[in-house]
Amino acid sequence: MGRPALAGAAYYDPALMQRFNVTASDLRPGCRDIQVEGELDLAVASQLDEVLSAAASECSCVLVGLDRCAFSDSSGIAVILRAHNRMQEQGRRLGVYGPSAQVLRVLSMTGLTANGLVFDSAEAALAALDPES
């Protein structure tokens, strides 16, 4: 995570917008960090859904890094919630971390912050969610 994050930067700056990309890496077996980059909307939400669905069935702890996600609409939030709800049924944990100002507003207005799913950093999310951290 040496790259500059968007957190705290402009709420919505067209100049900062970038193509959507999602990557996943295992922090340790059973704990996966999924990095979302660019603009997350209905057009690309299925790409995140695919990666999250796999993680939800394979891992006990999933982190979704949003510090390079410049924008999210509610379909992006819906995909994250679907994975969260599926994992929760099985006693597994999902959290998101590092949202930009715009993404944080969407997360709070859809109830995710109040439900303790949103963390400032990967470290904070790990400490709260990963039983082995």
Partner: protein, 309 residues
């Protein structure tokens, strides 16, 4: 007073004395009966009632509508939480729906909000008193109050409204055409990013602060995504200014069947249905019209003074 179902009562008043004369008996009845009472009005009105109540003010719940915001669509979730918090017990409320309405469009949405209350709380046991200031509101607004309320009180007399329409279609009708030539953009799934860019550029040009730009962009993006998902795969975006407001609307071929769309707090367990909820949280005014001819949703945002040339 024994309550059956939802009682929707309007209080028409002129001046502070009539306001207090109309509200205080209602407040005292609630306190005497032990009914939970929520007063959701602007700060000035709340202070009038609190001063009159003295130490009893602590037995009443106040919500400062100056802080909740002027979008009338925010009121139903607030009342919903209050009614649900008391699990079926009779409760009472005092509101002032048109308190912040400063335009014809806002007053129109206040009226639709009042009609939606009848729909939303049909099965709830509570009594809501909606205060209307006859000194500042026009005759058309007063006539609509008689359509949305079952009971009307004025100068100490309460009567059933002969014009009450409990089953009004709150999404029917058409919005007035734009008063200036709009920027028009047809979009589908792959143009959602372009929709956001267009709205962001217009919002910045209108002098909106960075957070207001992002809010407006986010809300508009939700409308466009709804058109893609539910409105036939895409729609038409229009963007224009009227007076000191920036407006954006999205029109599509879809039909909205839930009249309370955008006013039902999303559950963490539900997967969709957050788009219009978000738009209402992010904008001062959201107008939804839907019928067989399609759906149009229009957002209003105040532009910074003098931003338009």
């Amino acid at each position: 007073m024994k309550q059956r179902g939802f009682q929707h009562q309007a209080l028409i008043y002129e001046g502070s004395d009539e306001y207090l004369a109309g509200t205080m008996p209602f407040v005292r009845e609630a306190l005497a009966a032990g009914d939970p009472l929520l007063i959701a009005v602007g700060e000035a009105r709340a202070e009038l009632i609190a001063d009159e109540l003295g130490p009893d003010a602590g037995r009443v719940l106040f919500v400062d509508m100056d802080r909740v915001g002027g979008n009338p669509a925010l009121a139903i979730p607030l009342w919903r939480d209050f009614v649900d918090d008391h699990g079926g017990r009779p409760v009472r409320g005092i509101g002032e729906p048109a308190w912040a309405a400063h335009s014809g469009a806002a007053l129109e949405e206040c009226h639709r909000h009042e009609c939606l209350l009848n729909h939303a709380f049909r099965a709830s046991s509570w009594h809501l008193l909606c205060a209307y200031d006859a000194e500042t509101l026009d005759d058309g607004t007063m006539a609509r109050v008689a359509r949305s309320h079952e009971l009307i009180s004025r100068q100490g007399r309460t009567a059933r409204s002969a014009r009450f329409e409990p089953d009004a279609d709150c999404l029917a009708g058409e919005l007035p055409p734009p008063r200036s030539r709009p920027e028009v953009f047809a979009f589908g799934l792959t143009e959602l990013g372009e929709v956001r860019r267009l709205v962001a550029v217009a919002a910045e040009r209108s002098g909106l602060a960075p957070r207001a730009v992002a809010d407006f962009v986010t809300a508009a993006s939700e409308l466009a995504a709804n058109s893609v998902a539910h409105g036939g795969g895409g729609g038409t975006l229009r963007l224009w200014t009227e007076g000191d407001e920036l407006l954006v609307e999205v029109e599509d071929r879809g039909l909205i069947e839930e009249p309370l769309v955008g006013r039902l707090r999303p559950e963490i367990s539900q997967e969709g249905g957050r788009g219009l909820w978000l738009a209402n949280q992010l904008c001062d005014l959201v107008q939804i019209r839907s019928g067989r001819g399609g759906t149009t949703v229009r957002l209003h945002v105040p532009a910074r003074d003098g931003a338009f040339v």
